[in-house]
Symmetry: C2
Subunit: 376 residues, 2 copies
């Protein structure tokens, strides 16, 4: 176990990369997918089962945790890892995105964002300094700089102002974070869909120097086309020897396309949220387990999947427990979906190592095009 | 693994007994507590984790399963064990109690009960013959005779009429069940709180001959005093060499008192339902995990408990996840409660084996009288 944060690339294939992020709490194989554990739990899952899916790291949400149970409380209880029984790395977001999308009566100034809690109406202030403090109190391994996620669509002038505010906040985040061996601070590139703004943002971040770099503002509103358009040039603006993290993305084909374009890390609520709404990810596309056609189907979700759900339960059972609104429904489908995502990441890592990513991606798309299983 | 159903007593202490029920799907150590798996799942739990708590057998509800997903469907899918991924013994109730408490527009006749489903309004008929057929289609290991659970309070004449109907249904159940090696049919003693009716019922059942005998109508309405009053004499009316099952009971002290009076098997929704409503069973009594006093308590629910919840999580975490309405809250607390119940049963079995049941019961009550943990 290393005592420092480091990133080692082991292979590349075109723009795609595979490697390992080392932290005192364990290694993160890249490209990596981070399940989202918003409120100190990956919804419907036990942490040991999240690990069994192959996850090396999970994400926690600063905004939710600062409101409930509170960062100081988590610190007094020994930190987020102990609190939620996950002893591997945790990345926390800065709260910047969620305070603007979830909080009430928010007011954004140069200093930060003042807002009322959506939980109990209490008043709070989130600034770069407070975000760094909260993430330190949570004992997060990878801390995100506080930024404003530029809304879509944005005129270039608006996008520029927003990005430059985020860059001033990035400097304050960098200063407030200080020097914490074993912990990492990531900067976040903004600039919406404007190449010159992405370049300006990258230059500003590189001058400050971060342990990793995120690509911000691409998960919401621009669509896959807009996102891939930016990813065709933006990752190369960032240092090649640091991890690149595409925040809040995404669907399986988003991830595949982003890995091809040089991204190393991802997070998204899709596998967990879909698991609670009866949407199953499979090699042959997405299935809705509430659909009546599954009600007497003895087959597993995906005969090629080795997850416990596919090994032990039929489509008919999954259909039944969703219809009966039993909790095991969300657990079994979330488990499968997380397993699917982690297996996809392993496939991408193996393909890059073998310099065979194009063939892997062709196979990925071909299998999805086949559609659901043939009849028995 | 035996190919037949059998019951072997290994020790007695006063009226209390300990032994083993052998079935082709596994052994059931008695006194036994059966977690309730109403709709083909023990709510909020994975079946392998139910087994980890020490459960040898679970209970399924005929009424719920006949309506959704349907007994014929379960049979076509390979039976209830395969469907829900539980390969150990399952006991199913007859549907008689739940059809009278849950169904709509029910009409009771000599033949059976006609009713409308609470799920979709469809019309159904439940008779002794249909109940036996459904339980066979589910592939239940221990089948319950179809009966009417006499409501509380009941005048003696009403209780007698109800009991005698149940005895006529017991004969039809016995006839319809037939001879099924490896499977067991249990008769149900009724008679409300009237000793002479309990005696008449027992005589009728013994003439028919069953593999086990249940004590019916004691879980609802009579209170612990009424129940213990009947249990002071009713178990001895039943054959000593067959298991005795007290249906729908109960609280930990109900179980302790019933074991002292010669009961071998129990089922109750209390540990699972309480797990979903933040009620924790501990040696020192019941805790409400939503209570604010737990919000920063680093201690486990019960420092003497070896369940995963107590080994890995603080009261503060349990409080947090209940407040945040996270699914893991129900899972962790159900797991603990089931573990508590199974550990209680193991304690009772060990105490009977050691002929030290009185001392065990004294310790059980003394520890509860102490109340919750002392402050840190």
């Amino acid at each position: 176990m290393t005592s420092r944060f480091s990133f080692t690339l082991s292979a590349t294939d075109g723009a795609a990369r595979t490697g390992v992020i080392s932290t005192p709490r364990g290694e993160i194989r890249t490209p990596a997918f981070m399940p989202v554990g918003t409120a100190a739990t990956v919804k419907a899952m036990l942490p040991e089962n999240v690990r069994e899916t192959g996850a090396d790291i999970i994400l926690g949400n600063t905004y939710h945790l600062m409101l409930r149970p509170g960062a100081e409380r988590v610190a007094r209880l020994g930190g987020l890892h102990k609190f939620m029984n996950w002893n591997r790395p945790i990345l926390t977001d800065s709260g910047g995105y969620q305070v603007m999308s979830l909080a009430q009566l928010r007011k954004l100034t140069e200093d930060g964002v003042r807002f009322k809690s959506h939980v109990d109406g209490s008043e709070h202030m989130l600034t770069p300094e407070r975000s760094m403090e909260i993430q330190r109190l949570l004992d997060s391994d990878i801390v995100m700089a506080f930024d404003e996620c530029t809304p879509h669509p944005a005129e270039e002038g608006v996008a520029a102002d927003s990005m430059r505010l985020s860059m001033r906040w990035a400097r304050r985040s960098r200063d407030a974070f200080g020097d914490r061996p074993g912990y990492a601070l990531f900067g976040i590139q903004q600039g919406n869909l404007y190449k010159d703004l992405r370049e300006e943002s990258s230059t500003a971040l590189k001058e400050l120097g971060f342990d990793g770099y995120a690509l911000g503002g691409l998960a919401v509103g621009g669509g896959q086309e807009g996102m891939f358009g930016v990813l065709d040039y933006a990752p190369a603006m960032l240092p090649a020897d640091k991890p690149r993290y595409l925040m809040g993305v995404g669907k399986p084909d988003d991830i595949v396309g982003a890995v091809q374009r040089g991204v190393d890390m991802f997070d998204c609520v899709l596998p967990t949220r879909s698991g609670r709404t009866a949407q199953a990810f499979t090699r042959r596309g997405v299935l809705n387990m509430k659909n009546a056609r599954h009600q007497e189907d003895p087959r597993s979700l995906d005969p090629d999947c080795a997850c416990p759900t596919c090994r032990k339960y039929s489509r008919a059972y999954l259909h039944h427990v969703f219809r009966a609104q039993e909790m095991i429904a969300a657990t079994l489908l979330t488990w499968h979906n997380l397993h699917y995502y982690q297996e996809l990441m392993q496939g991408l890592r193996d393909a890059i190592s073998a310099r065979a990513l194009d063939a892997f991606v062709d196979g990925f798309h071909a299998q999805r095009a086949e559609g659901d299983l043939p009849p028995l």
